[in-house]
Structures are given as C-alpha cells and as structure tokens.
Symmetry: C3
Subunit: 140 residues, 3 copies
C-alpha cells in the first residue's frame, strides 16, 4: 500500500516547533496499516525536520540557542550574502538536521518513543508557509 | 514483504559503539530478501544512530571527543538543566546524528561499504538499555 | 516494485558538488512509478550526501568553508591520525551530514522543492571515485 499527500504548515517563527499532531492528522490512512513507514519530507533548503523531546518547551529554545551559536548568522567567511544574514546559516543548519524523517508505523500508529516528537526547524527569520510531502507505505 | 521487530540493546557507556552484529542478528528474515531496505530506529531522544568506520576503535573515541567539544555538557546558555549537565547536550547530539538509519539490502545481506558499521551513539552518562525498532521491507 | 542499481561517481575534488543529474539518470525506472521513494546510499565513511540549494555555487563553497572551520583537519584532540590530517575530520563530517537520502517520487519524478539538489559531499583531499547504491521502490 502506498499513499502520498502534501501538507502545508502555517508560517512558524524562527525556531524549533512541535508539529507531530499536524503531521499525524494529515495521514488518517495510517490507521489501516499493520506495519510500515511514514516518510516526512520538507521541500525547502532553509528549514528542516528532526525528532526530539516532546515535553519541555525549554529544550526547543535551547536548540535555537545552540544552533545560532554553532552556525552564526552572517558568519564572516560566508560568501553567499544576497538573501540576508540568516540565509546561508539556514542552509547549513538545514543540512545538519536534514530534510526528512523516516518513522516506523506499527498497528496503525507512529511507533515513536514516549518522549519523541516531530520538530519543524525554521531557520529563516521569515520562512513563510512550509510544504511537506508525506509518503506512507506498508502492509494492511 | 514487511517485517518489524524490537531490539533492546544492553546498557552501553557514554560514547560510540559498534552494534552492526546485534542489529543484523535480530533480523534473520533479511536472508530471504533479494532487494530491500532495513530501517533502524531508536526510540529515544538522548542517544542516536550513525554509520561510520568499523575498524579502528580510536575513530569511535574521536567521535566522543569531538562531540563533547562541539556540544559541551552544561553549556552556559542552556536553559533546560533539570536532568543533569549531560541531558541537553545529549538532545542536541541526538539530532545532529539522527534517530534512524535506512540501509540497503541486496541478496539477503546489508549492502554496506567495506568500512561501514552501525554505531550506537550513547550521549548520556547513564543511558540504560536502548530500544530499537527494526523495520524490514523488500522483495523475495 | 523494487529496483536497485549501483552508480559510481567520478572522482570529485574535496568540497560540495551537485549530482542530481547523475543520480536521476541512473534510475530511468523511476519514470514508471506513480508514487514511491528513491533511497540514495553512499558506501563510504569519508564522504556523504545532503540535499541543499541547487542554484548558487557560492552556497556550496560556503558549505566547504563552514565544515572546515567546524571540524578542523588534524584537530589537536584527534587520536586517529594514520591516514592523514583530513581523514578523521572526514569521518565526523560524514556522520554530521549522513550516508543516505530518502527522496519522494511522484508521477515518475523526484518530488523535490524548486531549489533542492543532491550534493555529493567529498570530505577527503583525494577521495577517488565514490560508489552509490540506489534503491527504488513504489507503485506503478
């Protein structure tokens, strides 16, 4: 069984945001799967996806602090500067975290650990809406 | 063909550890596949999985050194501190390395390069046993 | 439907290189898929794959600058030194960026965003030809 659907996330401010609920709601077809995989893909190069702690908002704020320090906006050695100080840093962060997640499905649900949630990582100051492509495959 | 199985790894000390053998042994069903993918997923947010050099133990020690320097325990700007100095750093490292591996299967075996092995990346001082979920799919 | 094929990339100089065309050309079978996934896997531990901006060459040069600064060749704390100053740094970069990409397929083509392209990330000074294994699965 294969199913594919687009999901456009509303604009989020720069930072790390829990979007597990939005993603899961977009693929009700998952309920019919005994075992499978959900592939979540972001069609952008300045935002990314990761899986991390779903409970404490301070963890998500610390992600933003850490990555801003690790990949500074407008770093002196960056050559690509046309699109603003946050642009090249956003590209690097996007590759460090990655454009997709492959998540196991079991008995009709995502088989995540208790503390795992899907983060949208918005690396631009004004990234706008972000398009995800969700691809579900598995056995009924 | 779909197959899914849980694998609980024994507690490993903080650091990077080769677990290729444990993972492969847990999916004997792989032997029956002509072509496919093995998805290896860790259900935690303070440990991760990566693929790297399977021969020299000093490479794995250098991973630990590098990541400790790059994401310092108890970094001054971290706000999330309740669970100890190694906790927030562990979350960041887990996202830098990622919670899953998708590995090609060919002729009944993982089609890895000669030097590639699966690392369990244990980012906590006392992470305890770690649960993996292995999802195998392919063509017989 | 499953299909798997090897693709050996010609030697690229150290740095980040767009290889979308080479990858797509190696799997003409993709044209027959309504929906699916293309898994691109590199069988090495000192080169990696990522998805990022496909238009400006300066973005790719900034990737090389950033990662050289972030993971310095011959870093003083590295223990693994036998294979040259670029070797251990290459292993770390390879794990930060990752050995594989899972890309959605829709209507016979990769469903990438407008600005997304596949990068070969060559972390060695003389990495030589690099072997990729492409695994295509989906529904006709």
């Amino acid at each position: 069984m294969w199913h594919q659907t687009e999901l456009t996330l509303r604009p989020y401010p720069r930072g790390f945001h829990l979007v597990t609920r939005e993603v899961v709601s977009a693929v009700p077809e998952m309920a019919g799967l005994k075992v499978g995989l959900l592939h979540v893909f972001i069609q952008h190069t300045s935002a990314s996806l990761t899986l991390n702690e779903n409970a404490s908002p301070d963890v998500r704020r610390d992600f933003e602090r850490y990555f801003n320090q690790s990949v500074p906006d407008g770093w002196a050695d960056f050559e690509h500067r046309l699109e603003g100080d946050d642009d090249m840093a956003a590209h690097i962060k996007a590759s460090l975290l990655g454009p997709s997640l492959s998540l196991p499905v079991r008995a009709g649900r995502l088989a995540l650990g208790t503390w795992q949630g899907i983060y949208l990582c918005e690396h631009r100051d004004r990234g706008g809406p972000r398009r995800l492509l969700l691809t579900l495959t598995g056995e009924k």
